[in-house]
Amino acid sequence: MTRGSAQLKTTDAGERMVVLSGDWTLASLRSGVAQTFHALRSVSADPALKWDLRQIDALDSIGALLIWRAWGGDRRDSALLNPDHVAILQRIAAVPVVEPVRRRLDLLAPIAFVGRRQGRFYENVVAFVALLGLLVVDVFYLLAHPRQIPWREISATIYKAGALAMPITALVGFLIGVVISYLTSDTLKTYGAGIYIINLLGISIIRELGPLLVAILIAGRSGSAMTAHIGVMRVTEEIDAMITMGISPISRLVLPKVLGLAVALPLVSIWAIAAALLGGAIAANAQLGIDIVFFLSSLPGVVSADNIWIASVKALTFGTTIALISCHFGLRTKPNTESVSSAITSSVVTAITLVILLDAVFAIMFRSVGFYH
């Protein structure tokens, strides 16, 4: 492979001529494209100059484009060509010249951006309410036709989002229990109130941290998976196929996920609470010398059983919310892969934000329930 080169020659007839030779291809020119172009450009200004391209061995479109640009985007009829290369130059000549559109600076763009965001938010709210409505309609339909209740899908959701999440929720719960117990025991010890670690851990873990932690974990773990599942089904037109077969995607995809998470989340929460209390008890034993059996047996005396119910109701609400939000964003995915990733992001962020918001609402609603005064 010989690199393309250009030489300025004077023919016998006294004409000045540019003779190009060698390989004018991307592979051979790659490193020196810019220099080659400038060299060509500098001589091409002279219209009297003849061009001789006959000695070019190989010409590809990059090479031809360089020569073409040096000519100023115009055919030189006087150029001497190798017959094999005529077609390439003809192809280039046939491309219509389109100037790239320059984007003008739009001063109103930030305002338009806010407006579009606002519009999109309302769109989402409306679509979410519509989804809820469709779900209610389908629930009534299924109540009337119980044979069509998608039991298999419901149990699959409970297994995937619940049973398979048990190790990670136990681990996280246990560690949180250890950390809270460890961090508060010092303060309690200074006041001689070490024994109150049981009240502290009992209330904070059962009522607050257990359900919240599990909800956040499940939103990240199963919420994203649900959005991806439905989103990919949209991209591959599987949802459209379902609809044409008369299968309602709401009752086959959304409902099982909502019911499954509504069942799974309270159960997983109780499981995580147990792990967290165990972690707390072990750390309390190490730091304050409180016997683990004593810790567990005095727990019912200081934390009312109502807290378990509050935790379960919270977990149930969180589970339903996560599933609904995940399905909502999954169904709103546009049929391209780019849209799936942004749908998953929105789904997880919205689900976690809503869970924390709901948690605050619960804190206010149940402020006089579950405490011994």
Binding site: V33, A34, A58, I62, I88, I92, V95, K334, N336, E338
Partner: protein, 252 residues
């Protein structure tokens, strides 16, 4: 330069315990247009994937331009990869990039071409595949199936490859576009000594383009000849393949 562009020797591939190719050997010389034919599941696409280095063979070697890309160093492999362009069955356009950027990507990856040249090359390639200038800012999701295919072909051609590997290039194109595709490949292969290795079911494309037809059946190559000769081959798959392709007799 006498080196074959593709040199497959004693290739065995296996996927999930099933042997897909048994002892395949074939060579493709510069300037040839090879049509690879076979029933569904006969391992055409698998062979294509092995040739372009996406899958490793179980046994045997595949050399492109005299180099075994899987066992060459990174630089050498990259040099080989820049010498061929691939058109995937479903286009495989980058969904996050516009039509223009999809075609420009391989050129930009070279680092060293200036913006104007990249733009000119992209516009030339898009013009070749008959994509109009008003469509260049569209995203792949907004394109029709045939357009996706044509943009993907433009991307495969962007680096002026010496070898073009095509998986079902005319599937999903209307007859007119198929014909202009055939014309484009013909003119490119004449002018730039382009070698083409394509999987196709389209007998029209085969008869107009292929200088040689390779038939895969039962994991083996059962025919490797010009089309006229292949058509006379008594192998049952070949007989039925070309029998169904003959036009049905018209009433009246």
């Amino acid at each position: 330069m006498a080196e074959p562009v593709i040199d497959i020797r004693n290739l065995w591939t296996r996927r999930g315990g099933r042997i897909i190719h048994r002892d395949l050997s074939m060579q493709v010389e510069t300037g040839e247009i090879i049509g690879l034919v076979g029933g569904s599941g006969s391992g055409k696409t698998s062979l294509l994937r092995v040739v372009i280095g996406l899958d490793a063979p179980e046994r045997g070697t595949v050399r492109l331009f005299g180099i075994d890309p899987l066992n060459a160093g990174r630089e050498k492999r990259l040099a080989v990869q820049r010498r061929f362009g691939t058109l995937f069955q479903a286009g495989a356009l980058f969904s996050a990039l516009s039509v223009f950027d999809n075609v420009a990507l391989p050129l930009r990856e070279l680092r060293g071409l200036d913006k104007r040249l990249i733009r000119d090359q992209v516009m030339l390639m898009l013009h070749l595949v008959e994509i109009e200038a008003r469509d260049i800012d569209k995203m792949p999701a907004e394109l029709s199936g045939g357009m996706v295919k044509r943009v993907a072909l433009a991307r495969a051609l962007a680096l002026d490859p010496e070898l073009l590997v095509l998986d079902e290039p005319t599937a999903g194109l209307d007859p007119e576009r198929s014909r202009s595709f055939v014309k484009l490949i013909q003119s490119l292969s004449l002018q730039q000594s382009l070698t083409v290795f394509m999987v196709t079911h389209d007998v029209d494309t085969l008869s107009m383009l292929a200088s040689r037809v390779v038939v895969l059946a039962d994991g083996r190559i059962v025919a490797d000849d010009p089309l006229d000769q292949v058509k006379r081959n008594p192998h049952p798959f070949i007989a039925s393949f070309f029998a169904t392709a003959e036009p049905l007799p018209q009433p009246n």
